[in-house]
């Protein structure tokens, strides 16, 4: 007798065994290392001698049976043996000289006449070597589990029994069947030995099917004996018959019973099937099931030895052609019909749930089904508040930013124009070579992917999309906050307050005015992340009638719509993941705090927080390639995307008030003379007005007892953590632009803390104003007082944001951006009023750009095959010059890199300085100095090395005219004239031979052995693909890029030796010409790309809201049906 933790079933099973009308001749028991009293029970029932132990954790039923047989009833020695899996070895029956083995499970009790019926059946014909029982429910003996088994064409184990099917004798006519359940399987001993028992590679599920399959192929028959009944436990905890074991068995059997030539096709088919299953399972929000199936498939596929062994054994006993069993397998039509009926059995119960949902008095969440259903009620459309708030925000934003509509391109502050097409942006975003200046290795910023999305939203025009993003940032924030508020409060007025507060948040207004794209996107998306996280953990506010779930570690027992009442939502978790990826890409300094908070919450919530782990995946996938390339300069990880722009960080108490930039208490309001510095501290008044009502409510939420105080505490703790970590990170310098070292912007952290405190305030408001409705009688006299108080509070709550927005719009209108000189882009960006008291708010720095960054001639060559670069020199104050080496049509926002901006910073936090120039930067500086000093020295050596074919002088003052005149005299520069984008000079090539071929510098040059340029090659942005003519020995092809081991070149497929030319990457060219290919490759790049694609693909699938209903059991329909299939294994 074999048992494994079957103590609760064994007594009945053993009793049933002993009650057999035709008792077994011998019974042996095998215990497979039970931890309960199974062994003792077996010994008591069967006797010490007939019980053995078989402890091999990884083996299954078949191995246990085989071991029991070998030990206690060796073939020929003992006369009669029966063995039962995991339970009982029952009597072996002697029919003539033939020994039969009756396999019994510890959780399956045979009916008293079962053995007799079986023997009766096998006695009729000798061709039957395997007979099985009708499986009925353990508790409910009218519930059919299976009557014979079948498989689909894909070797899936099938019972083809409907859910809740009742035994009315409808299957009693069955005889020959594909397979029978191993519980109660009667096997002729010689066949058992001939077939070498069950396949040990199938420990859990499908071993019976496999055995019967081989039995058929050996020329024998398998019958089910419906009159022999077996009462089998369904849904046994910790059983081996899991869906993943079934999948594994399915794969194994598929590979085992297919002709050898079909093996690879089957394997690939199985893999594809697994992928499809994974995608489908994610679509129906059961990623756990999908992954277990996927891993089971992989596990089934990667056992070539077991498969080979199984195939060998099967081949040895096969007598008849494989197609013999085909007729016994279920047709796909039967399978589909069975599935459909299973689903129909599940569905009706859900419709009642839906009906009860409609009774919900208050809607919440957004319009998508998965977040919350919008229901109408007599108070009018629920979305009116969102529309009103968005319209107000749009009006303010339109007034404040009207000037931006003038043109399709904006720049200024941290903004630069974007590349023209989404494909260019994508190329920049996914590149491992940073095409900035002289180039440098490293992965592009994750933010470039956000820009790519932005340009897709803009219909391919990223610059227009940027303009609209700036203008729509406030209304979008309002709508986002309105939706997020729906998860926390059911009161519409507070949702409007939240929408206004969020769209008028100082952090947003500053981000718009200073053109900080990262902080802006993060602010707009933050409510969505908040909403998605709340729903992912199931903490959103639920229906009035449903059970309120406080913070518990377990999912709520009553399973309703995901996202509320403690039911975790996969959709929301995936949406949170996408929002988090976008936010962390936009504000990398938030990556740490958000991750820590989410991990802590997920850990604390336990299984209820399981979905939250998924939300970390997209950010991780996004940042891994980037993180790998900044291992040596980790400070890049904190850098804000966009141009490094310095600012005056606010002290922590001002950050609590939602102000990212420092202001002086009596510093007045920026740009509003009326509210300038004076007796009334306008700055403080406005800052307090904007934030204090919200803060007070947030504090109230902490103290007022209520159902969601714990949530408020989480919000507060997260806000504190965010601000604290931001303050610490602020000490780390992350970017250099010209001579300014800047740290991470405080805006994103202030935004994050702001939304958390706003959420806490919503909880607080809900509590304060909920009290009177709950206590109608005793405090009725207070009612008018309360009403007045709440009116005042509401006026304050609405008035603060409105005042802030009005001040912002007024300052933008009254102080329209002076035609800022072009130099402001690149010149010293320190706040000009550092000496004065900083006022509240920030002057608008974004401005429309009418003409391109570079003159059209330079752009033409920069984007052509020449890839000519342009050296842009800007004359600044006190004789200083700023310079930049631009590619293409000028440096674009998507080509900027935090790696590049942090590269030159050295030193401990707080004491950073700029490192000594490397050769390329020194060359650039020297070229600029040579040109502007105009001492008659030829700058072309440096310029050609840098690939610069044009020089542009942008000027802020009249002195530039003189500088321009001086530059005219620089040898090698030919004045083209004054363009919209500045004075332009063309650099004439030094070598006349090269000059005949092309009249401007190229990115890729060919140098002869003496180092003279003898030719140029066309190139792409990064790679080169060109034909090289034959020439002399000792030629080199030189790229105007920093040398790096990642560069590699092939000539007609042959790899070229890498070398350098100064700081530039070069390759030795053979004398004979050929087709030259140069690429920059990262060995991990491809795999990271795959990883990102998979993670994002799956997350998007998971985030797609599906109107799929959940079954009562909370499982997907697929899993429900599978449970039925395998429950009785």
């Amino acid at each position: 007798m074999v048992a494994h933790d079957g103590g609760s079933y064994l007594p009945r099973t053993l009793a049933a065994l002993s009650d057999q009308t035709r008792s077994a001749d011998a019974a042996i028991g095998i215990d497979t290392g039970s931890t309960d009293n199974s062994l003792d029970l077996l010994r008591a029932a069967l006797g010490q001698a007939n019980v053995t132990k078989f402890v091999q954790p990884k083996s299954g039923f078949g191995a246990a049976v085989q071991a029991g047989l070998d030990e206690l009833a060796p073939a020929g020695a003992a006369q009669h043996e029966d063995v039962a899996k995991n339970a009982e070895a029952a009597g072996a029956v002697q029919a003539g000289a033939v020994q039969w083995i009756w396999l019994l499970h510890d959780d399956a009790a045979p009916a008293p006449d079962a053995l007799a019926e079986l023997l009766h059946a096998v006695e009729r014909t000798t061709s039957v070597t395997v007979a099985g029982c009708k499986q009925l429910g353990w508790d409910d003996d009218r519930h059919v589990v299976d009557v014979g088994l079948s498989t689909s064409r894909w070797a899936e184990r099938l019972t083809l029994i409907d859910a809740d099917e009742v035994d009315q004798g409808q299957y009693d006519a069955r005889s020959d069947t594909f397979a029978v359940n191993s519980g109660g399987m009667l096997i002729r001993r010689d066949v058992w030995d001939q077939l070498q028992g069950f396949d040990p590679a199938l420990p859990g599920s499908g071993d019976d099917v496999d055995f019967c399959w081989r039995n058929w192929l050996a020329g024998n028959r398998v019958v089910v004996v419906p009159s022999a009944r077996m009462f089998h436990v369904e849904h046994r905890p910790h059983g081996l018959g899991t869906s993943s074991a079934a999948r594994k068995a399915q794969i194994h059997m598929r590979l085992k019973h297919t002709p050898w030539w079909n093996l690879p096709f089957q394997a690939v088919g199985a893999l594809l099937g697994a992928v499809v299953r994974l995608v489908l399972s994610i679509l129906v929000k059961e990623p756990g099931y999908g992954f277990s199936q996927f891993t089971a498939t992989i596990a089934g596929l990667v056992r070539p030895l077991a498969i080979a062994r199984g195939r060998r054994i099967a081949a040895r006993t096969r007598r008849v052609h494989r197609s013999v069993v085909r007729g016994l397998q279920a047709t796909s039509r039967e399978v589909r019909a069975n599935r459909r009926s299973l689903l129909e059995a599940i569905r009706p119960s859900e419709e009642t749930t839906v009906a009860s949902d409609l009774l919900a008095p208050e809607p919440s969440g957004d319009a998508s089904d998965d977040f919350a259903a919008l229901a109408t009620n007599e108070r009018g459309w629920v979305g009116t508040g969102a529309v009103v708030a968005a319209l107000i925000a749009f009006a303010v934003s339109f007034v404040g930013l009207f000037g931006l509509l003038r043109t399709g391109i904006v720049a200024g502050g941290g903004l630069l124009p974007l590349s023209e097409s989404p494909s260019d942006i994508w190329a920049n975003a996914s590149s491992w070579w940073i095409s900035l200046g002289a180039g440098l290795p490293g992965h592009a910023d994750p933010f470039a992917y956000v820009l790519w999305l932005l340009s897709l939203f803009g219909g391919g025009d990223g610059n227009s999309a940027t303009v609209w993003l700036l203008i729509l940032a406030m209304p979008l924030s309002a709508i986002g906050a309105w939706f997020a508020a729906g998860a926390l409060t059911t009161r519409r007025r507070f949702r409007i307050v939240a929408a206004l507060a969020w769209s008028g948040a100082p952090a947003l207004l500053v981000a718009i005015n200073q053109g900080r794209p990262g902080a802006l996107v993060a602010h707009v998306l933050m409510p969505l992340l908040m909403l998605a996280l709340i729903r992912a953990s199931g903490s959103a506010i639920g229906r009035a009638h449903s059970v309120r779930a406080p913070f518990t570690r377990r999912p709520a027992p009553v399973l309703g719509k995901p996202g509320i009442n403690g039911t975790p939502s996969w959709t929301a978790a995936a949406a949170a993941g996408l929002a988090m990826a976008a936010i962390t890409a936009s504000a990398p300094s938030l990556l740490g705090p958000i991750t820590v908070v989410v991990v802590l919450v997920a850990v604390v919530l336990g299984t209820r927080g399981k979905t939250m782990w998924w939300s970390l995946l997209p950010s991780a996938a996004l940042f891994i390639p980037y993180g790998i390339s900044v291992l040596d300069r980790p400070r890049s990880l904190l850098g804000d995307p966009g141009l490094p722009l310095s600012f005056d960080a606010a002290p922590l108490w001002q950050q609590f008030l939602g102000q990212p930039l420092a202001f002086d208490i009596d510093g007045g309001l920026t740009g509003l003379g009326m509210f300038g510095p004076g007796a009334v501290p306008w700055a403080l008044v406005l800052a307090l007005l904007v934030s204090v009502p919200v803060l007070l409510l947030a504090v109230a939420a902490l103290f007022l007892p209520g159902k969601r105080t714990a949530l408020a505490r989480v919000f507060w703790l997260a806000a504190l953590a965010t601000l604290g970590s931001s303050w610490l990170m602020g000490h780390v310098a992350t970017g250099v632009n010209n001579n300014v070292i800047v740290g991470p912007f405080t805006g994103p952290a202030v935004s994050a803390a702001g939304i958390l405190l706003l959420a806490a305030a919503l909880l607080g408001a809900d509590k304060i104003f909920a009290v009177p409705t709950r206590t109608p009688d005793t405090v009725r006299w207070k009612s008018p007082l309360r009403r007045i108080a709440s009116g005042v509070a509401l006026a304050l709550l609405v008035g603060g944001p409105l005042a802030g927005m009005a001040a912002w719009a007024g300052q933008n209108v009254l102080q329209p951006l002076s035609e800022a000189p072009v130099a402001a882009d690149t010149a010293n960006a320190l706040p000009s009023d550092t000496g004065n008291k900083p006022s509240l708010g920030s002057a608008r720095q974004v401005r429309p750009v009418d003409n391109g960054t570079l003159p059209a001639t330079a752009v033409d060559r920069g984007q052509g095959p020449e890839r000519t670069r342009t050296l842009v020199i800007t004359s600044g104050e006190q004789g200083a010059f700023t310079s930049s080496l631009m590619r293409g049509d000028g440096t674009t926002l998507d080509s900027l890199s935090t790696i590049a901006s942090a590269r030159t910073i050295i030193g401990a936090p707080g004491r950073e300085e700029i490192a000594t120039d490397d050769a390329a930067t020194a060359s650039l500086r020297r070229a600029v100095a040579t040109i502007v000093a105009s001492t008659g020295v030829d700058p072309r050596n440096d310029l050609e090395q840098l690939g610069a074919g044009f020089v542009v002088l942008k000027a802020a003052d009249d002195a530039a005219q003189l500088t321009a005149s001086r530059i005219d005299a620089v040898p090698g520069l030919v004045a083209v004239g004054q363009t919209d984008a500045g004075w332009l000079w063309r650099v004439t090539p030094r070598n006349s031979a090269a000059a005949t071929a092309a009249d401007t510098a190229h990115r890729v040059r060919i140098l002869n052995a003496q180092g003279e340029a003898i030719g140029t090659l066309p190139s792409e942005e990064v790679s080169v693909d060109a034909a090289v003519p034959a020439g002399d020995e000792g030629r080199r092809v030189v790229l105007a890029e920093r040398s790096d081991p990642g560069w590699s070149a092939w000539m007609d497929g042959r790899q070229l030796k890498s070398t350098t030319s100064g700081w530039a990457q070069a390759f030795e060219l053979p004398a004979n010409g050929g087709h030259l290919e140069i690429r920059y490759t990262n060995p991990w790049g491809f795999w990271f790309g795959i990883l990102q694609a998979v993670v994002f693909g799956l997350t998007v699938l998971l985030a797609v809201p599906m109107p799929a209903r959940r079954s009562r059991t909370g499982m997907s329909r697929d899993e429900v049906s599978l449970r039925k299939e395998y429950s009785s294994v």
């Binding site: 900035l436 406080p550 913070f551 604390v604 310095s646 600012f647 005056d648 960080a649 002290p651 922590l652 108490w653 902490l702 209520g706 159902k707 969601r708 105080t709 505490r713 989480v714 703790l717 504190l720 604290g724 303050w727 602020g730 632009n737 010209n738 001579n739 300014v740 070292i741 740290g743 690149t826 960006a829 320190l830 004789g879 200083a880 010059f881 700023t882 310079s883 930049s884 900027l896 707080g910 700029i914 120039d917 930067t921 650039l924 500086r925 020297r926 100095a929 040579t930 502007v932 001492t935 008659g936 020295v937 003189l962 321009a964 005149s965 001086r966 005219d968 005299a969 040898p971 004045a975």
Partner: protein, 558 residues
């Protein structure tokens, strides 16, 4: 995450109402629940207080330590400018304007038969004694003479006192504009100075004229030209670069800016000189300031100014550019002779420009109130009218210095508006005899190691002026054979001017020039040239010292 107290209350309440019948049980339960609910409230309040205290503590703590700045500017990195060739473009000797009638009468022939010209160049070694390769070429680049060969090796400067050497060249006569060029040594520019001197004893262009060989530039102010009757002003623009230059001239007269269509877009081809007769652009202007702006190649511009009063030559001079517009202009080497004779002469018709005078041009539109001070040998000399003159914006004004007693002076002019200035020096007191004049353009303060080339004939004087404070000026003679002599220190107190006559020879060797250095408060200097027993005069400003290692602040952005 503590258990929510309110929740417990609710739960207990529900449970209680469901079991109304069992009152005793309910009582026991509710008292128990009240206890646990109290406990829950206390924990809740405590945890809330802890959270708030943490927030307050963070604010308090961070306000005590330095906050992150958000952004800080660092010093802009200086980029070394590679030293280029030191260039000096020398004017050609004075020539008659083409079209001048040449009479047969030898006595009154405008052609000067006695005209001589000389180019004197001096190249100083670096501290290690290496003399940079240098030569005199034509504008087009053809070598005229070599001053020093390109050194084969450049020993690195050793510590200790510098070992100076020099090379000098003197070319006579000179027939065309020339360029004096010297290669840089390492990353330092060569110290080179050269001048062209012209003198004639007869003809219309009688007198002494000298001009330093200037570094070509794109912006220059030339003061002192005169296109009134009998005055001839010819602007010579030389382009020694390989880039064509387009020159625009802004002309300022006594009444303001003069619009002259021919003054725009003058093309000067590489390696050529273009002459412009200013009378064709601004006729009849007795005080004319020319602002030369060139785009493309840099040009060197000089004006050949000559005066003919009837048949009597009134002198000739090369006007060269001084320092650019500034609030303070100082002109050294203002040597004034007999005050009474000058006054008498100046009062005669046609002789108003035969007196010393200060000319001021104001480029901008704002009027300039200029305070003029004169520093003589014995200190500051008051001007008769108090020395304050108001010059309208965009005009040129002349302040006569005819009331000043004889002596050598330094003129300092200051205003709160940028202006340019130059001072005229006149020689000759008799109306019937030929006179001569010179212009001393404003100059920069003396630094260290200015190289001054001195013509080998005639008299020469150094005039040093120290307007304020105290300064020491030292000068060391350099002989034609390249030796640098012992330096002579002149200690000067503020407000004084020293006139030093220079010997023709130092020891046995001919003096080719001097190395002049100054320390202390700002000092200014000029070289005055003259002829023994003649009314000839010319003033040469001391050229800027070699720039040494030049740096430009350059930042690198995106």
């Amino acid at each position: 995450m503590s258990e929510d107290p309110k929740k417990q209350v609710d739960d207990n309440g529900k449970r209680g109402s469901a079991k109304d019948a069992r009152n005793s049980a309910k009582d026991a339960r509710s008292s128990k629940s009240a206890r646990s609910s109290n406990k829950g409230i206390i924990t809740g309040v405590l945890s809330a207080a802890v959270i708030l205290a943490a927030g307050g503590g963070a604010v308090a703590a961070t306000s005590m330590v330095p906050a992150p700045s958000g952004g800080s500017a660092v010093d802009i990195r200086q980029a070394d400018v590679p030293a280029g060739r030191s260039l000096g473009v020398c004017p050609e000797p004075a020539r008659l304007v083409t079209g001048t009638e040449v009479d047969t009468d030898a006595e009154f022939s405008p052609v000067s038969t006695t005209a001589t010209s000389a180019l004197n160049a001096l190249v100083l070694s670096n501290p290690a004694g290496t003399i940079p390769g240098s030569k005199v070429t034509s504008l087009a680049g053809d070598t005229v003479a070599e001053i020093a060969k390109t050194p084969t090796s450049t020993p690195s400067p050793s510590s200790g006192p510098p070992v100076l050497a020099a090379a000098a060249a003197s070319i006579s006569p000179v027939t065309a504009p020339t360029v004096v060029g010297a290669d840089p040594i390492g990353n330092e520019q060569a110290s080179v100075a050269a001048n062209l001197s012209y003198s004639a004893k007869d003809g219309d262009l009688r007198g002494l004229a000298a001009a330093p060989c200037q570094k070509p530039g794109n912006d220059a102010w030339l003061l002192g030209s005169d296109t009134a009757l009998g005055r001839t002003a010819v602007l010579n623009l030389s382009n020694a670069s390989e880039t064509p230059a387009t020159v625009n001239l802004d002309l300022f007269g006594a009444q303001g800016q003069i619009q002259a269509p021919g003054a725009r877009g003058l093309l000067v081809a590489p390696g050529t000189t273009r002459s412009v007769n200013l009378a064709g652009l601004a006729p009849g202007e007795s005080q004319l300031a020319v602002h030369v702006r060139s785009s493309g190649g840099p040009v060197a511009g000089t004006i050949q100014q000559s005066v003919l009063r009837g048949l009597v030559p009134g002198g000739v001079e090369f006007l060269s550019s001084g320092s650019g517009p500034s609030n303070l202009q100082v002109m050294a080497g203002v040597d004034i002779q007999d005050a009474a004779a000058i006054k008498a002469l100046g009062s005669k018709a046609g002789f108003t420009d035969a007196v010393p005078a200060l000319q001021i041009a104001v480029p901008g539109s704002t009027d300039a109130v200029v305070q003029v001070r004169l520093y003589g040998a014995n200190g500051e000399r008051q001007l008769p009218n108090g020395g304050v003159v108001t010059v309208k914006g965009g005009t040129v004004a002349t302040l006569d210095l005819d009331g000043v007693p004889a002596g050598s002076y330094t003129v300092s002019a200051s205003s709160d508006v940028a202006f340019v200035a130059s001072t005229r020096i006149a020689r000759g007191a008799k109306a019937e005899e030929p006179t001569d004049f010179a212009w001393s353009p404003s100059s920069a303060r003396l630094g260290s190691q200015h190289v001054v080339a001195v013509p080998r004939d005639g008299q020469s004087f150094f005039s040093f002026g120290v307007p304020e404070g105290r300064a020491t000026v030292s000068y060391a003679p350099v002989t034609a054979d390249g030796k640098v002599g012992k330096s002579v220190d002149v200690d000067m107190s503020g407000g004084t001017t020293s006139l030093i006559e220079l010997p023709a020879k130092s020891g046995q060797a001919v003096v080719a020039g001097y190395v002049v250095s100054a320390s202390g408060d700002p000092a200014y200097g000029a070289l005055i040239l003259g002829r023994q027993d003649r009314a000839d005069v010319s003033v040469l400003g001391i050229q800027d010292a070699a720039a040494g290692l030049e740096k430009v602040p350059v930042t690198v952005g995106y």
